[in-house]
Symmetry: C3
Subunit: 154 residues, 3 copies
């Protein structure tokens, strides 16, 4: 994007504004990290980013049907879990799975499940929520990430 400011346009005379990309590896399976990733992802799709979420390890386990909304807080903050969940409910805050479905509805989210993790934890495609777009190894993610404007692991 910044290149547009600094170089004259190519022959033909104009630039096509490129879509910005956010690529996130979701390694964590706790509620705080999922909410953090999904708040970032939701905002990103709202401002027209293309969002790529690659779920691996504990994150991948949260892609199993019914798992995501049972996610809790990590050991360090376990004592605050009940209070935290109560507060979110009172705020009518969407659950992680609802947030994911809304992002998906934008048409700008792609969801990947890490194949080596699936083997490691004996998880099959049919165990996963239907929103998953592709089963993929790390090479796929590296290609996406190398080309992304922002890459994070959470």
């Amino acid at each position: 994007m910044f290149i547009m400011d600094r170089f004259p346009p190519p022959v033909g005379g104009f630039y096509v504004a490129e879509t910005r990309k956010l690529a996130v590896i979701v390694q964590s399976g706790t509620m705080d990290k999922l909410l953090c990733a999904f708040m970032l992802g939701s905002t990103a799709v709202a401002v027209d980013f293309e969002v790529h979420l690659y779920f691996t390890f504990w994150g991948l386990m949260m892609l199993r049907k019914g798992a995501m909304d049972k996610a809790g807080l990590p050991a360090t903050y376990k004592h605050m879990e009940e209070q935290f969940k109560g507060k979110l409910e009172k705020m009518n805050y969407p659950t992680p799975y609802e947030m994911l479905k809304r992002m998906k509805a934008s048409g700008r989210l792609k969801l990947y499940a890490c194949t080596p993790t699936m083997e490691m934890f004996d998880i099959n495609r049919e165990d996963l929520i239907p929103e998953v777009d592709a089963l993929a190894g790390a090479a796929t993610f590296l290609d996406i990430a190398a080309d992304a404007d922002i890459t994070l692991i959470i």
Copy 2:
């Protein structure tokens, strides 16, 4: 930056060296992660980076007055906390808050507090340390991060 090596200078004949940018989401509120973020940030301002720290979730809770220097180690390493804090004291290592204030004094740190988290945890502006530059949502951070040389979440 790397473009300078590869393309001839534009008409006019020279490039202005651009300031490099480091953007970090501080999601964690434990001492080890704060120290890690602040060591990186301190080094970055020392070598003339512009540093943007966006505090969210447990990180944001550490921006409340008096909170940062009470941060402890996460559950996994809790048993080492006393020894670790003692060692740092013996080294006269600056506390996290001291590190933050030094970064701030460089004029190259911008500090953001995540507004959705503030609502979630009932935190107001006057609860936060005065070093906070702006209350901001994720869209602000995405704009900064998309343009940064290094973006991390810790």
Copy 3:
């Protein structure tokens, strides 16, 4: 890389395809995070990335001789450790240290140990595995990361 598609080649007529770079700060010392970093790193070297791993804090402690293969799961998942390790063994999955040595053998991995952490934890060069390429402060890492295609902290 993407610039190649958009700008005409410089005088001389061609581009040399640049090596892509992955830079990772390994701040964690738990088995799940090490495996995640090393799976990513292994894949990256296999598809010809240059990989830079900078070990700090709990990560650095895992560079001490004999430490890496004793790494366990974090408190949140401690109850699954035995089952998880058993599964990996049954799969003949390489240990973290074996993965590291294979990456190293590719000639495309550079391994850094964080000097401030070494001081903080009283660790000397001779305590560390021989695969470490350099003892380095954060400034070294920032230079590498600012120039990398993907930068992560795990």
